[in-house]
Amino acid sequence: MKKDENVKLTAAQLAIGGLVEAGTGEAFHTGSWRSDRPVWNKDKCINCLTCWISCPDSAIKTAQDEKKGTVVVGIDYDHCKGCGICARECPPKVAALHMEAEKK
């Protein structure tokens, strides 16, 4: 059940038992919490997907490539909280991710 910030649903309109449909987190742009941002270097990336599996916010964007399979295509800055786990986990020899201070 999507909850509009301004229109409050009534008891008759709400799903019973506080059931919330999956995927509502998408509407929350937690990226605004960020103080540091990860920067991804496409040329260095080997698509090992270590960052993707490590990201607690599913903020590593991927796509299907015919030859390479699943590849990294960028970072979802709407939801990335800037925790830096991706940059920490990216293999040091690859170093395709580094953190920069968020510009205010």
């Binding site: 409050k8 649903l9 008891a11 019973i16 506080g18 919330v20 999956a22």
Partner: protein, 401 residues
């Protein structure tokens, strides 16, 4: 003795616990998670034997506490299973946190609950303090007068809970029903299974095609609406319980209502009571009726939801009324059943009856026909105006001074 009413019914001597386990075998839930506690131990012990013997396909989860038993049961229910458990007294107390969550998440868990005193002092015998402590947790509560009712209530509870989307507990009085052998009429497995039907939840967590979140936080803006839904579901459950009872009567022939009236229609003095003591009180009512005393009885079967309006209507003509509670409230004032009966009468404008409260039978203390006869004797005096009704709790068969 129970008279058979169903053409395909079978009479057998069984204890309350045996017959509740038998009902569970016939219901054959997907999951049972339980922890043993006197006097309810046998229910899940017998049931676990059914599992071990391959008589049911139920997944039995032996847990390490009642808190875990209720957690696992409600989680199984959330996953989409028909889930049941059983407990008593301290076990129900330990479940308390999860009882509220089962109700709040609107999960139709069904529990066999054997009423037992709560500690301290430690006591294993029958009184209703345990279930009365859980009366406002959002659980449907169905109390049984005897083993037959316990069996019939278990079967009905599954259907009521699933329709109301509320958890339900069926209770028996510890030892008095749980361990006493009575003749009970049971119905064939296939007929019970047909009556309860297959459980098809609209939403369940193992439905990977329609994922959802359950139990998320709701603050000032949404919590209240969901608690209103819960309270309203309990109000709506009255009709559901009545409908299921009608369906049950049509199928098996045994009549039930939210409460039972025994020689109440023309009664001038009456007792309201819950559970096995109703059986004792009926004997006293019969004796008094033979002497020409217009005595009656109202036995509450479904205590949650509380059928306040109907009860008030049926007690409107009574001159003096005693509400017998097998639980004290330690509130400084009246016990639970009295409070609900008194507010039901008051809210419905019935102020003619003088209503007194008695607490009896705590920790399995004997309640004999002579004790109940004394209450009726007092009611007779109150009705005649020769004795003033007590304005505080009275106690039966306890040494005070």
């Amino acid at each position: 003795m129970i008279k058979p009413v169903y053409s395909k019914g079978k009479l057998a001597a069984k204890t309350g616990n045996e017959v509740m386990a038998e009902a569970m075998r016939q219901i054959e839930p997907d999951v049972v998670a339980a922890y043993p506690i006197t006097p309810a131990t046998e229910i899940v012990q017998i049931f676990s034997q059914f599992v071990a013997d391959g008589k049911v396909k139920t997944e039995f989860v032996a847990v390490e506490s009642e808190h875990s038993a209720m957690s696992a049961t409600l989680a199984a229910s959330a996953a989409g299973a028909r889930a049941m458990t059983g407990t008593s007294s301290q076990g129900l107390c330990l479940m308390w946190e999860m009882l509220n969550i089962a109700a709040g998440l609107r999960l139709p868990v069904v529990m066999a609950e054997v009423n037992r005193a709560i500690s301290a002092p430690l006591n294993i015998h029958g009184d209703q303090s345990d279930a009365m402590g859980a009366r406002d947790t959002g659980w449907i509560q169905i109390y049984s007068e005897n083993s037959q009712e316990a069996y019939d209530n278990m079967i009905q509870a599954v259907k009521i809970a699933e329709k109301a989307k509320l958890p339900a507990m069926v209770t028996t009085d510890g030892f008095i029903i749980s361990h006493c052998m009575e003749v009970v009429e049971t119905y064939p497995d296939e007929d019970v299974k047909k009556f309860i039907g297959e459980y098809k939840p609209e939403r369940y967590l193992l439905d990977t095609k329609r994922p959802f979140t359950m139990g998320s936080i709701e603050l000032q803006d949404y919590y209240f609406e969901h608690r209103w839904q819960l309270a309203q579901a309990m109000r709506d459950a009255k009709k559901i319980a009545v409908d299921v009872a009608a369906d049950f009567a049509k199928t098996f022939g045994r009549q039930y209502d939210l409460y039972e009236k025994y020689k109440l229609d023309d009664a001038e003095i009456a007792i309201v009571v819950i559970g096995s003591t109703a059986g004792t009180a009926k004997v006293v009512v019969d004796e008094l009726r033979e002497k020409g005393v217009k005595a009656g009885l109202l036995k509450v079967r479904v205590f949650r939801p509380f059928p306040a309006q109907d009860i008030a209507k049926d007690l409107a003509k009574v001159k003096a009324l005693a509400v017998l509670d097998r639980a004290d409230s330690c509130s400084g004032t009246f016990a639970p059943l009295y409070s609900d009966i008194a507010s039901a009468l008051f809210a419905n404008g019935i102020t003619s009856a003088k209503v007194v409260n008695y607490v009896y039978g705590l920790g399995g203390r004997e309640i004999a026909p002579n004790h109940i006869a004394e209450v009726y004797d007092t009611l007779g005096k109150i009705a005649a105006g020769t004795q003033k009704p007590s304005t505080d709790v009275n106690y039966i068969n306890v040494r005070i001074k």
